[in-house]
Each structure stands twice: as C-alpha cells, then as structure tokens.
Amino acid sequence: MWRYIVKRILMLIPVVIGASLLVFCVMNLSKGDVVSVITAGADMTNEQIEAVREAMGLNRPLLVRYGEYLFGMLRGDFGKSAISNEPVLKLFFTRFPATVKLAIASSIVNIVLSIPLGIFSARHQGSVADNAAMVFALMGLSMPAFWLGLMLMVLFCVNLQWLPATGGGTDFKSIILPAVTMGIGMMATTTRTTRSAMLDVLRQDYLRTARAKGVPEKKVINLHALKNAMIPILTTVGTQLAKAFGGGAVIEMVFAYPGVGKLLLDAINNRDTTLACGCIVLQTTITVVVLLIVDILYAFVDPRVKAQYAKGGKKK
C-alpha cells in the first residue's frame, strides 16, 4: 500500500514539470507580455519600456528563464507576481480556502442530487420517471455554467431577491448559487454513472440471496447494491471534486467569487507568467493528490482492491 502511494506521488514530478513547461511556453509565446500590460497608458518611450523589460530579465532566452523558474520551484519558491509584487504562494493560498469551500459545497449538491436520482432511475428502468430523470440530468450537462449561473441569478437575486448575486460574502447564503450552478453541472455525469452502475448490480444474484435471507428491501438497495456500485460512483465524484479544487474559473467569474480560478484568469489576462504558472502547478498537484485519495478510498470500499494492494506489497 505504501509503495503504491509513494509511486503515485513520485509520478507527480513529471506531471508538474510538463504542466509548468506548457504554461510557461504558451504564456511567453502569446502576443504581448506583462510589461506591455504594466506600461499600457503610461507616457513612456520605447527605450524606457525596453529598459523595464531588461530589468525584469524578460529579454533572456525562454529556456534560461524556465530553468530558473523550475529551480526556484523545486526549492518551494514560486516567485512573485509581476503585477502586485506579492509572493505567488501567498496569493494562491489566500484564495484557496474559498475554492475549497465552493468545491465541497458543489460536491455536496452533486451527491445529494445525483445518487438518489440515479438509484431511483435504475430501480424504475425504462419508466417515464426514469426518462424524465435522465433528461433532467442531460440538461444539467448541456447548459453552459455561465448561462445557468446567470439564469439562477435572474430568478433568485433579481426577481425573488432571496439570495445575493455575488459569491464574495462570508455568509452561507452567498455560496448557495455558485455551489448549485457547479453542482448541477457535475450532477449529469454522476447521475448517469450511478444509474448504470446500479443497473449492473441490481441484476446480480447476490441481491436475490439477500432478499432470501430476509433482509429488508431498503437495506438490500442501500447496503448490498449501492456498496457494490460504489467504485464507478466514487471515481466520478472524486474526479469532479478534484476538478473543482482547481477552481471553476467560469463560475467564479460569473459570481465574482474570490477563488483560485478567478486568480488564474486574471493572471493570464495580465500576462503574469509567474502567477499563472504557479497557479497551474499548485492546482495540478492538488488535483493529483485528491485523485490519489480517491484511489486509496477504493480499498475501503472493496475488499478485493485491498487484497490487490496487499499482494502488490508482498511481491518483492
């Protein structure tokens, strides 16, 4: 088990290097740089602007700059934002709790909506209610987050005036709309996964065995069926949670929510390479770690997976 965890964490290294290199190159190859953003509108001559560029070290070759960045990163130094001159780590981690809050809240919306709906659909396969549930789930997937967010805003903030329009507040109410918008987007996939996983399990003979034992129907579904259907559901929910930890940039923009997604978008718009790179690397790391946790959870859900880990450990 530990061998596996260490292996997975070591695999993070190439992923982080790859991600940072990609972002670093794209940011540098795209038109304009951070100097043109800073000096925009300022009354400066071309020579002066060039001097700023020289001073910031932006005229050196790309690979040299990337090497320097990577070396700093390996020591835990993610550099400073070129715009605000604050450390990237500090900027990221002041925003990160808000993103975690949103990710967890939206995952709760996701789980609460999709698992009961998926179970219901599977148990009434082919019925009108099943089809209706599937259409509802498909709608969740098809509606773009920015549109759904705006529509919810129109309904609950403008017309009904129940909830605040922005997610920046610290009270519970302000997180509801962003979480619901994000949760509905996730729900479509989870519902479908739950439904198909349950359909698979509901046909199994051991459910009949459980009924023959005299286990009440509710327990047959929740204990035997759901537990056996859990792996694909866990994978889907986990992947979505990991994605959400990276920040839902669009939703954060729509609700002016102060998370890392918005931080990243702003960094890209400002051509703030250090900040953008730092955000991506940190988000990638967090995503990989969350996925690893999900993988470890499998062992708790399925004794067969645990046995595999145990065997893998014994091999050498």
């Binding site: 051991y206 009949r208 009924r211 023959a212 034992k213 005299g214 537990k227 067969r304």
Partner: protein, 320 residues
C-alpha cells in the same frame, strides 16, 4: 403417508413479455412430506427454478396457493413474509454470483441471523457462525475470507451455511451442484444428505441431472414447459415411466456399458412456445403418440397408481 409439510395448489407464474404472457409455471400442484425430498427435473427453461422461487415468494405468484404447514403463505405480506424466511430457505445454483463480493464469510452467514433477530449480541452471533461453519464443513480459518478467495465447493458451503442460519424446515435446492465440478458435486450432495438426516430437513431438489435425482430424491416430479407432467416415487418413476416425455428423458441417461443397446428416444418436432400457449397438450408437437385427441383440451394430472401421477391422454398407449 407422512405428515405433509408443503402443499402447492395450482401454482401459476406468468411473465409479461412484449409478445404476450409467458407461462413459466402453469397450474403446478404437488405435496412434499416432512423430512422427504422432492426432486424436480426437466429441461432448461421448463420453469423448475421459477417454481422454486415462486414458492419462496422471491417472485410473486400470478395465481394458486402455497400451503406451508397448512397455512397459505402466498398472500403473506410484511412481517409474516419476513417470518416465512425463517422456515423456508433456498440454496442457489451459482455459488460464484450469489454471494455479495463485499462481504466476508462471517458477514454473509451472520446477516440473516441479524435481520431476523434470531440472536442478539456479537458474541452469540459469532459463536453461531462458527458452529454453522463446522456444520457445513468449512474450516474456521476462513471466517474472515471473502468469497473471491474461496473455490466453488467452499462457496457453495457458505451458501448452505447461510441458508441453515435461520434453522429452516424446508429448503429449495436450486441446482446446487450444477456449477461445481464432479468431485465437489459428490461432496456437496453428501453434505446435503447428512444435513437432512441430522436436522430433519425437507428438500425440494431442482436439477437437470437425472443421476443425481435418482440418488437423492424420494419423489420425482417431471416438468415440461411450466407444467407438471408426471410425479412418482423415485424408484417407480425410473422403473415404470408413463409419460412419453419422461421416457425420452430417462432414455437419455448414458449407460456405462459398451454392449448396451442404444434405445435412446430422440424427440423431434418443434417445441411449443411458452408464450400464450393454447389449450392443447404442450408436449403434443414432439410426442410420438400424439393424435387428434391431444389437440383438444390438455390432459389433467391423474393418479394412475398410488402415488404415481401422470398428465397424458395416452398414458395407456405410451405404456405398451
């Protein structure tokens, strides 16, 4: 004649299909005496398994009655139905798919005890689980194993132990050995035999293996397309089969003698569809003796000798 434990009267189970009603079990009636074994034989898809499951109410009967110790259990609901599980149990055909892969052996065996509240307290339940494992010949060290770690024979022993956990009086054995290899089949059959003697169990033994049923059953019922065509004590049925289908079935048993004359009756003709079958005898299309009489109303099950029932208009002719 001993005390009747189970009486099935005109049991029906129809399934609705896009093409009409599928008559899986149609007007099946029989009785089983206490401590005896009724073997149920017939080809695949003839409704043996459905019949067993319907008696246990694992599928709801369409019509008819199931009298267990004189009480009609076919209308039981809720708590009564839960109590029925204590008296009637089933051993399933496939030990590979009928055990929940997420549960350890002890959890599988303890579950019925827990939900039927037979015993209280972890210690009492654990002790009972070990006792049951001893009863079915499962080594105690497997108590925390998971089904995927066991071979077929051991899994089937787990299936038997969990059926015995509720101290049932009646067990439907739904082809309990057909998924196992031959050497293990014998072990499991002997185990079932011993359990019957020691616990006084009554079995309904569903199988398509005629050699097994001859060894095992007191009475044998032959099913064809959802109907009971013949029922007789085992010896009588093997010595003196009356229904043409039973004769064909028995002639298919391989004889371990190279000089024996091959007298196998090979059935020809089209199998009647079980979906919306007509009134006529369902075997008529494949029967060697069928005539116009068979196209009328189907034959009733009649007692031709004490304990020997047959449903055929021509059992006199077929007998010659």
């Amino acid at each position: 004649m001993g005390e009747v434990l189970l009486e099935v009267k005109n049991l029906q189970k129809y399934f609705s299909t896009p093409r009409g009603m599928l008559h899986a079990v149609d007007n099946v009636s029989f009785t089983i005496e206490k401590g005896k074994t009724l073997g149920v034989v017939g080809e695949s898809g003839c409704g043996k398994t459905t019949c067993g499951r319907t008696i246990l109410r694992l599928t709801e009967p369409t019509g008819g009655q199931v009298l267990f110790e004189g009480k009609d259990v076919s209308k039981y609901k809720g708590r009564e139905l839960a109590h029925l599980r204590r008296d009637m149990q089933i051993i399933f055909q496939d030990p590979f798919s009928s055990l929940d892969p997420r549960m350890s052996v002890s959890q599988i065996i303890a579950e019925p005890i827990k939900y039927n509240k037979l015993l209280h307290g972890k210690e009492a339940i654990d002790a009972r689980v070990l006792e049951l494992m001893d009863t079915v010949g499962l080594s105690r060290r497997m108590v925390n194993s998971y089904p995927h770690e066991l071979d077929g024979g051991r899994r089937q022993r787990v299936g038997i132990a969990r059926a015995l956990a509720l101290n049932p009086k009646f067990i439907v054995c739904d082809e309990p050995v057909s998924a196992l290899d031959v050497s293990i089949q014998a072990q499991i059959l002997n185990l079932l035999d011993e359990l019957q003697d020691s616990l006084g169990l009554t079995y309904m033994f569903i199988t398509h293996d005629l050699a097994v049923v001859n060894h095992f059953a007191d009475d044998i019922a032959v099913m064809y397309l959802g109907q009971l065509v013949e029922k007789a004590p085992a010896e009588e049925l093997f010595d003196n089969p009356l229904h043409p289908y039973t004769k064909a079935l028995l002639s298919a048993i391989p004889v371990p003698d190279t000089h024996a004359k091959n007298k196998r009756i090979v059935l020809k003709g089209e199998i009647t569809s079980p979906i919306n079958p007509g009134e006529e005898c369902r075997f008529a299309k494949r029967c060697l003796y069928a005539d116009d009489c068979c196209k009328g109303k189907g034959p009733e099950l009649v007692e031709v000798k004490p304990g020997h029932f047959v449903a055929c208009h021509h059992c006199g002719i077929a007998n010659q």
